[in-house]
């Protein structure tokens, strides 16, 4: 199954590409390229599409770049990867990235990181993939080596990798992605292989386990190719001996589209572009049959029938996704009362309370998906829509191209694997806040109901009994704060993305104020929902503090949290002897909602300095006569 099977098939992608080439407008050409990147495609067509898209992207007008996030990726490898570059870039387009890819000379990954590689330095990578393979740097072990000797050799190799990861972070401030080692060598002992410490497979297995453990400690991401290979996603083409001897290719050309997508989804996740919400149809998606016709007794769900078990298995998978922070929503053509009653079925794994946005009516699904996005305050490009009905899928793809719509197998038994294989929800971290997120979005829906019932907004806000704490970002806050920095797109003033190491550096600067903000209310704990980082900068006055980053989860929008945060920030800055705060707004495709953030908070416009980006705007708040902030939030500290 070495293909992008969750993407829809195009009747004639070659003809569509030729038609796109004839398109006179460069913006339209890029749009066509992005569209074609969303279809199943073999490696030859993918390479052609890349050539076409790269030309369209080289057009100087950035507005034409159609909401793509630019990202520079360097490939440092011990096997040939040049043939994979087109597929990586095309997969990037399908995940809303404009990737620039730099390939360091084959086999020179140590030199590139430890000595000097002027080309790599000039490229300034934001993400570095260490694409290593099992044949690279073999551990010099005889087959008789003891477990202790193997452990020692494995540790030495992993320590070397740690050095490389640190060098990548320190020299380039890049996020590091380590590829695990695909076991390609045939077994020497047959099934006994895993019992001999120094047998080739056993050594690679131990190395991968050690790499994963070290990566977790060092905050390095994994491109877990060994695991993907074990899942069978790459079929037999990974480590094909002929391709290896011919061209030192670990990944055969026909696997390039899949490999490209596996890397692009990691890059997308690190740029905050992973999807956030799984929208589920009900009839024949969560259970077999039609609840309105068959009734709660008549639907297929639960033990006793193979079909009923398969639907339970899909619900379990959705439930696991919810537990890791994916928001669940329902979009169904049904009467709402009938649909909600079905959740009382004893075999339902998903409960009504797990669904943050529940839309069941007889209107068209495109409109309902828009409603779901607005109920949850997330973009359409955060949604994944799962519906067994091919016609509904087709309509949504046409009407709402921002929504991801996997092409599902005919058999419900294949749904979990299909949704998983599509890689919509790739993560770059997992924190305790993630686990609570789905519940938190569900509570938000309740808050919205409370708001519509409250006669006045002030009464509503007062009634929420909100409590805010803003504490300095320390080790405990670092993972979630970094995650928020990297995935917040809408309420984000500067959209600067930082690795954990960089956030830590800013937080440890005694002159800087880096705050993690939590909010509780009578409905529950919203968790860590906002980050603000202000620091001295040579580009602003000596007694002023530049607000480098200010961002907030849209979950707590419209609750005057920013007013309370400013109050804390202004007080701390004044205590530091600062006379003013300087705010910077850098417009992106997605952060229009905060264009007026600083003036709303009483900042005065100032000229954009020369060092800044020309479309940025700058704002100043004098701390001697701070305007009153307006909110109904109790500030717990400092």
């Amino acid at each position: 199954m070495a293909e992008l099977h969750w993407l829809p098939r195009h009747a004639d992608p070659g003809a569509a590409l030729n038609a796109a080439k004839a398109e006179p407008d460069p913006g339209q050409r890029l749009a066509r390229a992005i569209e074609l990147a969303g279809y199943q495609r073999d490696f030859v067509l993918t390479t052609r599409l890349d050539r076409f898209a790269s030309k369209a992207l080289s057009d100087p007008d950035p507005a034409r770049k159609a909401g793509l996030t630019p990202l520079r990726v360097a490939l440092l490898s011990s096997h040939t990867v040049d043939h994979l570059v087109p597929a990586i870039r095309v997969a990037g387009l399908n995940r809303r990235l404009a990737l620039s890819v730099h390939v360091a000379p084959y086999g020179m990954y140590r030199q590139a990181l430890l000595v000097d590689d002027p080309e790599l330095t000039a490229f300034a990578p934001q993400l570095i993939l260490l694409a290593l393979d099992a044949r690279d740097a073999p551990l010099q072990l005889s087959l008789q080596a003891t477990k202790g000797e193997v452990d020692e050799a494995v540790q030495a190799r992993v320590n070397e990798l740690r050095q490389l990861w640190r060098a990548a972070r320190e020299r380039f401030a890049a996020r590091v992605v380590q590829q695990t080692l695909v076991p390609v060598d045939p077994p020497v002992f047959g099934s006994y292989e895993g019992l001999v410490p120094a047998a080739p497979y056993a050594v690679i297995d131990r190395l991968n386990a050690a790499i994963r453990a070290a990566a977790r400690e060092e905050g390095v991401l994994l491109m877990d190719l060994a695991w993907q290979a074990a899942q069978g996603h790459y079929g037999p083409g990974l480590g094909d001996a002929t391709r290896w001897h011919q061209a030192k290719q670990l990944v055969s050309p026909e696997l390039a589209p899949l490999y490209g997508d596996h890397l692009a989804r990691i890059a997308a996740a690190s740029a905050g572009l992973s999807r956030k919400c799984l929208v589920l149809d009900l009839d024949n998606t969560l259970w077999g049959g039609v609840i309105g016709d068959d009734g709660i007794e008549g639907i297929h769900l639960g033990q006793g029938s193979p079909t009923g078990e398969a639907f339970v298995a899909f619900q379990r998978y959705a439930d696991l996704l919810a537990q890791r922070g994916v928001i669940l929503a329902v979009c169904s053509k049904n009467d709402i009362a009938v649909a909600e009653a079905a959740f009382k079925h004893p075999e339902m794994v998903l409960k009504r309370g797990d669904i943050a946005a529940f839309v069941a009516n007889w209107e068209d699904k495109a409109g309902n998906l828009r409603r779901i996005a607005s109920m949850l305050d997330i973009g359409l490009d955060s949604l994944v829509f799962v519906d067994d009905n091919p016609a509904e899928r087709d309509i949504i793809r046409r009407e709402l191209p921002e929504v991801a719509v996997p092409e599902l197998p005919d058999d419900i038994a294949g749904y979990p694997a299909c949704v998983a294989a599509a890689g919509y929800f790739d993560a770059v971290s997992f924190t305790s806040d993630d686990a609570a997120r789905g519940r938190s979005y569900a509570l938000n829906a309740e808050r919205k109901v409370a708001m519509s019932q409250a006669t006045d907004i002030e009464g509503y806000l007062r009634g929420l009994e909100m409590q805010l704490s803003a504490i300095r970002i320390g080790a405990a806050e670092l993972p979630r704060a970094t995650q928020l920095i990297n995935k917040t797109n809408q309420f984000n003033l500067s959209t600067r993305r930082y690795s954990e190491a960089e956030v830590e550096r800013i937080a440890n600067d005694s002159q800087a104020i880096a705050l993690a903000v939590r909010l509780k209310d009578k409905f529950g704990d919203n968790g860590l929902i906002s980050v603000v980082m202000a620091r001295p900068d040579p580009g602003v006055g000596n007694s002023e503090l530049l607000i480098d980053s200010w961002l907030m989860s849209c979950r707590v929008l419209g609750r005057q949290v920013e007013q309370a945060v400013l109050e804390v920030l202004a007080r701390l800055a004044a205590e530091y002897g600062r006379t003013a705060l300087i705010g910077e707004y850098r417009p992106t495709q997605r952060n229009g909602m905060v264009a007026e953030h600083y003036p709303r908070l009483g900042f005065e416009p100032v000229e954009t300095p020369e060092w800044a980006e020309p479309d940025a705007s700058f704002w100043r708040l004098d701390l001697h006569n701070t305007p009153e902030t307006h909110h109904f939030i109790e500030i717990l500290n400092p």
Binding site: D42, F43, V44, L45, T47, R51, H83, Q249, P253
Partner: protein
């Protein structure tokens, strides 16, 4: 499949791999004649042809490919025994 049929089936593969509809090939065509026919493109050609004809080239055969005619002859031997 005759060698002529194989050659005409190879033609669109060359056009796609080199992304050039103006490419014309005959049995005398070599890597020198086509811009971009480097080692990377060569592997792509080989794999695309393997997929198209349902054959697999041996490592030794890959080394001995001199021109398109030879490519066609190899495929023909594999298809027709």
């Amino acid at each position: 499949m005759t060698e002529t049929e194989i050659l005409s089936a190879l033609h669109p593969i060359f056009q796609d791999v080199f992304d050039d509809d103006d490419i014309v090939i005959d049995s005398e065509t070599t890597a020198e004649d086509i811009e971009g026919w480097d080692s990377l493109a060569h592997v792509n050609l080989v794999v695309a042809a393997e997929q198209r004809f349902g054959v697999k080239f041996r490592t030794a055969e890959l080394e001995s490919m001199r021109n398109v005619g030879h490519f066609v002859a190899l495929i023909s031997t594999k298809l027709n025994g």
